[in-house]
Amino acid sequence: MYQTRPWQKVLRYFTIIIVSIMFFFPTYWMITMSFKPKGEWNSAAGTIYWVPQNPTLDNYKTVLTEYRGQFFRANQSSALPSIRSSIVVSIGGTLFALLIGTLAAYGISRHSTDTGDLPWYIAVGRLGLLVLVMLPFIVLWARLGILATWYGILTFTIIGIVADQIIGRVLGKYYKGAVGSLSFSILQLRMFPPMAILIPVMIMWSTFRLIDTWYGLVIVYGVVTFPFVVWLMKSFFDDIPKELDEAAVVDGSSNWRAFFKVVLPLAKGGLASTALFVFILNWSDFLVALLLTSRNWGTIPVFLNKLVSSEIGAQHGPKAALGLLAVIPPVVFGLLIQQYLVRGLTFGAIKK
């Protein structure tokens, strides 16, 4: 493995080039598509345009300009507001997820026996009990007509939290072992398809007037992606010797100081790559943005949908153009943290 013969070298080069071409081709297709005029978008007429015959910037004009011309175009508005929106909410959501996620990860890694090890019947059972206890309340709230008011939701949530805690304690008496696990529930949350839960979230958001605001989206993005942060950051923290922060604490610094001044700087590579991941996840989300925005804060994927019209079909060229523009922020982010990427992504799992 550390000695290569010439034929191996040639073979490797060959393989790399072939694989790279295969992997790059869709990207190439997107790039060239963004410069093709409409007549060359489609292969339905029987001709494949491998390179644009008449390269044009029209597709970019189409997505970036407010259209007031006299000819029908699928989108009349410019994508710029959606780009701004995407940047704001993706960065905001990423920061929020990093904030709560990193703290929780550190807590779980250092100060908790929480291994995420929870038998499924306990997890389901606990949820089931909570449902049993809370269903009468929700029906009562509905009958009282306060289910969709902010005070109704708030009181209901508080009762729910209390009930959840009591159920946890009671279960703990009869079952030896963990009955609740933060790291488990957040992973569970992450695996849950967002479709269905989004409907009540939408209702709740509307009640709290968070629909179509950037902060409303930021909170949801944060909640949806912070499980990632917890799992990734936990493995990074696990890799940093516990003695380090303990030594700092023995030397007289506070727990917080030890975390921020000693541990976090050591984990910054991991933090950077986690941030990139979470950013990409937020950046490419479509459904949450669709359901929680209306007029002002639609993101790029939501705008992409405007590039389809039943009359003239999907605007492949503009879509590719906007797609290409949308690649820029993650790539820039990736370049900024490039130095951390390769090392950081081992998730600290390899012990030296």
């Binding site: 997107m30 703290l103 929870l118 949820l127 509905a142 209702i203 030594a247 479509f286 998730f347 030296k352």
Partner: protein, 336 residues
């Protein structure tokens, strides 16, 4: 650190440990609670109401088209008939099975490709950085756009068939997206294309992180390339392989955008994944109470899977506990 701690340990191992632990106990509980509190709170504050609202709706036959407000759903209370419907709906189980099929093929494929590529990129060669960057681009492309590109490329007179035709030397005009098996293959290819870079990145950094001397030691002991891979690399990479597979698996079961744009779950229902199914039920057919029941069913299924998926992740913790026991033994042996 290297200077201070070992000395302390060495001087009075027992007492120092006890002292550290004592400090831990003293203020760490509050500290630990403070650390996890935001996450706990956010989780409960934001999830409790929607979760129970989903359960509430699922116990009724209400949907927006029944008229009336969702809060009034109790008027349509039907004791969870929706759950019976979910359990007897073949499309639900088909979608579930199909999702696991796609995940079960795509994720291991991504992993193997990623690992293979990582090996290819282990040594330096001319233009490595450029190829590296090329390999990483797919995961940065918005899935919605990627889905479109694949849709176009998989047309029967599209570029992919053109390339295949050129290779086999005769016209190849498979209509990929028009029948079940090829459409599934196409969906998997798109998924693999988009996410192999992530696996590649993870595996590449894993390989770079492998201790070189251990590899050389194995070489010196006469291990073949395969033996090194089997006995050294694989066990050493195991933790990140597991994390990578779990993370990818978690995301892949939600596969939506690419399928939605390439086939919209079609032809017929041939590529309908769980998310596509849920989307159709919730946002095309607006059967919200049924969608809610399906969602709760999925939640339970996913909970069961999560509890097993997490097992391998706890291996390090178990190892750490074993190490602590071992350290205790050593300590005891030393004091004898």
């Amino acid at each position: 650190m290297a200077a201070s701690t070992p000395i302390t340990t060495k001087a009075t191992p027992g007492s120092a440990n006890r002292r550290l632990r004592w400090i831990d106990m003293n203020n760490t509980r509050t500290f630990a609670t403070t650390l996890t509190l935001p996450a706990q709170l956010v989780l409960l504050l934001i999830m409790i109401f929607p979760l129970l609202a989903v359960v509430y709706i699922s116990m009724t036959s209400w949907s927006p088209t029944q008229g009336g407000d969702w809060t009034q759903a109790y008027k349509f209370w039907d004791w969870g008939r929706n759950y019976v419907e979910v359990f007897t709906d073949p499309f639900f189980w088909q979608a579930l099975g199909r999702t696991f099929l796609i995940v079960g093929i795509a994720v291991p494929l991504e992993f193997l490709l990623g690992l293979g590529l990582a090996f290819l990129f282990l040594e330096d060669f001319r233009g490595k950085r450029i190829f590296y960057a090329l390999m990483l681009i797919p995961m940065m492309i918005v899935p919605a756009v990627a889905g479109y590109m694949f849709w176009m490329m998989f047309q029967s007179n599209g570029p992919i068939n053109a390339v295949i035709s050129a290779i086999i030397g005769q016209p190849f005009t498979l209509a990929w997206l028009s029948s079940e098996a090829p459409a599934t293959v196409a969906v998997i290819i798109a998924e693999v294309w988009q996410w192999t870079p992530l696996m590649f990145l993870i595996m590449a950094s894993g390989l770079v992180g492998l201790p070189e001397d251990q590899m050389r030691a194995a070489t010196m002991l006469g291990a073949s390339g395969w033996q090194k891979f089997r006995y050294l690399m694989l066990p050493m990479l195991k933790p990140i392989i597991i994390i990578a597979l779990v993370i990818r698996g978690m995301e892949a079961v939600k596969i939506f955008d690419s399928i939605f744009l390439m086939t919209a779950g079609g032809p017929a229902r041939a590529t309908e994944s769980l998310s596509i199914y849920m989307y159709k039920v919730a946002f095309q057919q607006v059967r919200w109470s049924f969608a809610a029941a399906a969602a709760m069913t999925v939640l339970v299924i996913m909970t069961i899977i999560a509890s097993y998926a997490l097992r391998p992740l706890q291996a390090p913790q178990r190892e750490a506990q074993a190490a602590m026991r071992q350290a205790a033994e050593t300590g005891a042996a030393g004091s004898d």
